[in-house]
C-alpha cells in the first residue's frame, strides 16, 4: 500500500501518454521478450553453478490458459541440487524460487496435514511434501492430479471434490446433546473404530486415483464415503441422522459405484483403509434394506 509505488505508477503513465497505442504495445512486447531472455540467462547461470553438485531433474507439467506458449500443455525440465532429506515439494519450491517464479502449485504446511499438494509424481498420486526425492527414479515426472481439470500448472480444480464431500452431510447431528459441561460418552473401542476415518486431510488423491470416479463424475468417491463412515459409525450420532446418511450413500451414485479397485486405499497418504470402509457401508446398507423388506 505504499504510495511510493503509486507515485512511480503515475510517472509511468505520464510517459506513456505521449505514445501511441501500438508503440506502447511494442514497448511492452519488448520488455516481455527481454524478460524472457533474462530468464533464459538466469537459468543458464543457475544450472551451470550446479555443475559439480549432486542434482535431480524434474519434468514438470505446465499449462496456463492465458499465457502464450503455455496454452498448449508442455513439460518443463528443472535441474535442482539434491540434498539428503529433500522432498518433492522442496524441489518444486527451489525450482520456482531460482528458475521460474510463475511455476504454480498449492502448498502450505509442508508436513502432510493441510492436504494441498497432492500431485501425480512418477505415475502415482502422492503428497509432494511427504515424498522423499531419494525414493524416486530420476528424472522425476510431476503432473497435476489426473481426473481433475487443470487450472494452471500443477493446480487442479477441487470444487467437484468439495461438492462431493458436502453431499454426504458431513456434520454431526447436535439436536440431542447433553447440556453445558456434560459430555457425550463414547467407548474407546468406538473411537478406535472411527479413528482412521477421521484422519482424512481432503487431499483428493483417492478420488483422482479411482477410475470409477473418473468415468462417472456423479460417484461420491472414496473420500466422501469415508467421511460418511466417520459419522455413521460414531455411536454418538443420532439414529435419524444415521438413517438419512445411509440413504444418501445408497443412492445409485453412492457406495454401489465402488468396484473395489483399491487404488484409493493404496494412494491415501493418511493410510486410511478406504475400500474397507466402503465395503462395510455396503453391507450396512444391505442389512438396512433387509430390515424394511
Amino acid at each position: 500500500m505504499s504510495t511510493q509505488i503509486q507515485e512511480q505508477e503515475s510517472e509511468q503513465e505520464e510517459q506513456q501518454q505521449g505514445e501511441s497505442v501500438p508503440a506502447q504495445q511494442q514497448r511492452r512486447m519488448d520488455q516481455k521478450r527481454e524478460r524472457a531472455a533474462d530468464e533464459e540467462r538466469q537459468r543458464e547461470r543457475v544450472e551451470s553453478s550446479l555443475d559439480d553438485e549432486d542434482t535431480r531433474t524434474l519434468k514438470v507439467f505446465r499449462y496456463d490458459p492465458e499465457v502464450e506458449g503455455k496454452k498448449d500443455p508442455r513439460f518443463d525440465e528443472f535441474v535442482v541440487p539434491f540434498r539428503k532429506g529433500m522432498t518433492v515439494l522442496d524441489a518444486l519450491m527451489w525450482a520456482r524460487d531460482h528458475y521460474d517464479s510463475s511455476l504454480t502449485f498449492r502448498h502450505s504446511c509442508r508436513q502432510a496435514i493441510c492436504g494441498s499438494d497432492a500431485l501425480f509424481v512418477n505415475g502415482s498420486q502422492r503428497l509432494g511434501c511427504k515424498t522423499q526425492l531419494a525414493d524416486l527414479q530420476n528424472p522425476v515426472r510431476i503432473e497435476p492430479l489426473p481426473h481433475q481439470e487443470v487450472v494452471k500448472d500443477l493446480v487442479v480444480d477441487m470444487q467437484h471434490f468439495y461438492d462431493q464431500m458436502d453431499a454426504v452431510q458431513p456434520y454431526f447431528n447436535d439436536d440431542d446433546v447433553p447440556d453445558g459441561l456434560e459430555e457425550q460418552r463414547q467407548t474407546r473401542e468406538n473411537r478406535e473404530k472411527i479413528k482412521m476415518s477421521t484422519r482424512c486431510i481432503w487431499c483428493g488423491a483417492c478420488m483422482s486415483s479411482c477410475n470409477i470416479a473418473a468415468g462417472d463424475n456423479e460417484y461420491l468417491g472414496p473420500a466422501a464415503i469415508n467421511k460418511a463412515y466417520r459419522f455413521a459409525m460414531d455411536d454418538r450420532e443420532g439414529e435419524a441422522m444415521k438413517q438419512e446418511r445411509l440413504e444418501i450413500l445408497e443412492q445409485e451414485n453412492g457406495v454401489w459405484r465402488c468396484q473395489t479397485q483399491f487404488s484409493c486405499t493404496e494412494v491415501c497418504p493418511k493410510d486410511i483403509p478406504l475400500t474397507d470402509h466402503i465395503q462395510e457401508l455396503k453391507r450396512e446398507a444391505v442389512k438396512n434394506n433387509l430390515k424394511f423388506w
Partner: protein, 611 residues
C-alpha cells in the same frame, strides 16, 4: 462487491469459531480465506487443549499456571476469561462430534503438559488441531455459512480519521486467486482478522508457508498497534529441512542430544547439569544454537537427537509417529540413525492489540487467534493454551461483531491506553521508504464520513492500481528479498538476541524494504498467480519483522522467550509493561502500556518463574 454483516478473514480455528458464533447471533457471515478452510495451519497442532474440566481442577488454577507461564506479562482479565470459558468451549467441540481420545469410562481424556499443575490438556490423539479444525468446518458447512476460499485479503477498508480510535473498519479487499478479480467486501457490522501466525518471518519454522502475518500487517498499517511482538517461542527439536516438529516426548522418554564431537553437550558443556536434555524448551534451544555457533554442529546447522538406545520395541510403542515423521520429511530412519534437529520458530505470543472481546481500537475491526494479542500468553505461551485461545476469543469476537451489546471491556486499547513513550536507538530509520506520511495510515484517502461502499471502493481501486503496477513492470523477484529477510531474522533475532545483532537486523530489514521498492511480478497471468500473492505477502513480512525487531531491541531484559545477551534478568521495576508498535504515518512509533495483574478477585504477584 459483496456485502455481509460480518466478514471473517481467515478460516483456521479462530476464524471458523468466530463465524459460527456470529452466525448464531443471527448475522449474515462470510469467511474469506486464502486457503480452503481445512488447509489452515491449525490442523498441524498436535498436543491438545487446556481446559479445567475435572473435579480437583479449577479455572483459577489454570489461570494461575497461565499467568506464571506468561512470566507475568499476561493481562489478568484476558487470562481469566480464557480459563473460565475454555471448559464450555471445549465441551462445545465434543458436542459437535470432535473425536477426542477417551478414558475407560467414556469421558474425554486429559494429559499432563509442561507448566500445568493439573493434567488438563484435552486431546485427540497426536492430531488435536486436525480434529478441531475439521469439526468446526463441518459445523460451518452445516450452517451454510458462505465461504470464499482461495480469496486473498490484501487490505482493510478503513476510514481516514486522524485518530485511530475514531476510525471505522468498513470492509476489506480480496483478490480471487483463481480468477484474478479484485473484489470489495462490505462489512455492515465488523471485520474479524484470524489470519494466524507470522512464522514465515523466520527461515526455519514449524509454521506453514501461508503463515505470513497478513492480518497483523494489514491492521498495523490501518492504525492498530502491534503488541508484544518480540516474544517468539522457539521449539528446540525441529527437523532441519522442513521445520517439522519432533515432540518433546522423545527427550521425555530418554532421547539424547549430541554435537559433532560426539559430546552430550547438555551435560558436558554445562547447560543443564541436573536435568540435561529435559530442561525447558528455551534452555535447550539456546544450548543447541550455542553449540552450532561454536562450530560444534553438523554442517554448521544442526545437532543430533538419538533415541536408538531406547530400543525398537519401546520406540514403536510410544513414539511410532516420530519414525514416520523422520523418514517422510527427513529421509532418516531413527531406528538406525540419530535424527538431525535444530531450533525453529514455533509461535508468536504477540499480535494485533485487542480487548477481551477481540475488538481493536478501530471500531468494527476485530482480531482473534494467533494473529491477535489479547495478551493471554504474555512473554511465553504454555503448551496447549493456543487452541483454547482460538475457540474462546474466536467465539467472543464473533458474537461481539454480530451483536454489539458491548460489555464494557477491562482491557483498554489504542493510543489512549499509552502510559509511556518508548525510546529506542536505531541504526537506520525504520518505516516507509521515502517521505513518511505519504502512505496514509488508514489507506482510505480523504474519506471520513463516507458510506461504507465508498470506503471499500476506494480501497479496491488502490489495490487494483497496486496489482497492475506490480504486474506490469520489471524488477526484483520477491523470493530473493524474502530469503534475505528470513536469513537475517534467523541469524539475529532468533533465540539469541544481542544488541549488535538486532541492529544489524534492522539495517538488513531496511535494505529489504528498499529493494522491495523495485519488486515485480514476472508471472503475467491472472489465473492462480501465486507469484503475485507471495510478493504481497513479502511486504507484510517486512513490516512484521521490523516491528518485532524494534520491540526486541527496546526490551532490555530477559523475560519468558525473550533473551538478551546484555540483560540476563527479568527486570520488573522497569519492564513490567507491554510493548506497542504503531504505524504512525508510515513510521513505527514505540510506546508502552501497563500490564493488568488485577484479576476478578485477586491480584497476581510476579514471582520467580521456576519449575
Amino acid at each position: 462487491m459483496h456485502e455481509h454483516d460480518v466478514i471473517v478473514v481467515g478460516a483456521g480455528g479462530a476464524g471458523l469459531r468466530a463465524a459460527i458464533a456470529a452466525q448464531e447471533e443471527g448475522a449474515d457471515v462470510a469467511l474469506v480465506s486464502k486457503l480452503h478452510p481445512v488447509r489452515s495451519h491449525t490442523g498441524a497442532a498436535e498436543g491438545g487443549i487446556n481446559a479445567a474440566l475435572r473435579d480437583g481442577d479449577s479455572w483459577e488454577d489454570h489461570a494461575y499456571d497461565t499467568m506464571k507461564g506468561s512470566d507475568y506479562l499476561g493481562d489478568a482479565p484476558a487470562i481469566e476469561t480464557l480459563c473460565q470459558d475454555s471448559p464450555q468451549e471445549t465441551m462445545q467441540l465434543e458436542h459437535w462430534g470432535m473425536a477426542f481420545s477417551r478414558d475407560d469410562d467414556g469421558r474425554v481424556s486429559q494429559r499432563p503438559f509442561g507448566g500445568l499443575s493439573f493434567p488438563r490438556t484435552t486431546y485427540a490423539g497426536a492430531e488435536t488441531g486436525h480434529h478441531l479444525l475439521h469439526t468446526m468446518y463441518e459445523q460451518v458447512v452445516k450452517r451454510g455459512i458462505r465461504v470464499y476460499d482461495e480469496h486473498y485479503v490484501m487490505r482493510l477498508a478503513v476510514t481516514d480519521h486522524e485518530d485511530p480510535e475514531e476510525r471505522r473498519c468498513r470492509g476489506a479487499v480480496a483478490y480471487d486467486i483463481k480468477t484474478g478479480d479484485i473484489n470489495g467486501f462490505v462489512a455492515n457490522n465488523g471485520v474479524i482478522l484470524a489470519t494466524g501466525g507470522p512464522g514465515q518471518v523466520f527461515d526455519h519454522t514449524t509454521n506453514a508457508v501461508a503463515n505470513t502475518g497478513d492480518g497483523p500487517a494489514m491492521a498495523y498499517r490501518a492504525g492498530v498497534p502491534l503488541e508484544d511482538m518480540e516474544f517468539i517461542q522457539f521449539h528446540p527439536t525441529t527437523l532441519p529441512s522442513t521445520g517439522v516438529l519432533i515432540t518433546e516426548g522423545v527427550r521425555g522418554e530418554g532421547g539424547i542430544l549430541y554435537n559433532k564431537d560426539g559430546e552430550r553437550f547438555m551435560f558436558e558443556h554445562g547447560y543443564a547439569n541436573n536435568v540435561g536434555e529435559l530442561a525447558s524448551r528455551d534452555v535447550v534451544a539456546r544450548a543447541e544454537l550455542t553449540e552450532i555457533n561454536a562450530g560444534r554442529g553438523f554442517e554448521d546447522d544442526y545437532v543430533l537427537l538419538d533415541m536408538r538406545h531406547l530400543g525398537e520395541e519401546r520406540i514403536t510403542d510410544r513414539l511410532e509417529n516420530i519414525i514416520h515423521l523422520s523418514e517422510d520429511f527427513e529421509g532418516v530412519n531413527p531406528l538406525e540413525e540419530p535424527m538431525p534437529v535444530k531450533p525453529g520458530q514455533h509461535y508468536a505470543m504477540g499480535g494485533v492489540e485487542t480487548d477481551e472481546n477481540g475488538e481493536t481500537c478501530i471500531s468494527g475491526l476485530y482480531a482473534a487467534g494467533e494473529c491477535a494479542c489479547v495478551s493471554v500468553h504474555g512473554a511465553n505461551r504454555l503448551g496447549g493454551n493456543a487452541l483454547p485461545e482460538l475457540i474462546v476469543f474466536g467465539a467472543r469476537a464473533g458474537r461481539h461483531a454480530a451483536h454489539r451489546e458491548k460489555g464494557e471491556s477491562q482491557i483498554k486499547t489504542g493510543p489512549s491506553a499509552k502510559t509511556e513513550d518508548g525510546v529506542v536507538d536505531t541504526p537506520v530509520t525504520p518505516g516507509e521508504v521515502g517521505s513518511p506520511g505519504d502512505d496514509v495510515a488508514a489507506d482510505g484517502g480523504a474519506l471520513v464520513d463516507a458510506p461504507a461502499g465508498e470506503v471499500v471502493n476506494r480501497a479496491v481501486e488502490q489495490e487494483r492500481a497496486r496489482v497492475e503496477h506490480l504486474m506490469e513492470r520489471d524488477g526484483t523477484n520477491h523470493a530473493e528479498i524474502r530469503a534475505d529477510l528470513q536469513e537475517t531474522m534467523t541469524a539475529n533475532v532468533n533465540v539469541f538476541r544481542e544488541e549488535e545483532g538486532l541492529k544489524q537486523a534492522l539495517r538488513d530489514i531496511r535494505e529489504c524494504r528498499e529493494r522491495y521498492q523495485d519488486v515485480a511480478v514476472s508471472d503475467p497471468s491472472h489465473t492462480f498467480n501465486t507469484d503475485l500473492i507471495h510478493t504481497i505477502e513479502t511486504r507484510n513480512l517486512i513490516d512484521i519483522a521490523e516491528a518485532l525487531t524494534l520491540g526486541a531491541l527496546a526490551r532490555e531484559e530477559f523475560r519468558g522467550a525473550h533473551w538478551r545477551a546484555e540483560f540476563q534478568e527479568r527486570r520488573d521495576e522497569e519492564w513490567l509493561k507491554h510493548t506497542m508498535v504503531a504505524w504512525n504515518d508510515g513510521r513505527p512509533e514505540l510506546y508502552y502500556t501497563d500490564v493488568i495483574l488485577e484479576g476478578e478477585d485477586k491480584e497476581y504477584e510476579p514471582k520467580v518463574r521456576s519449575y
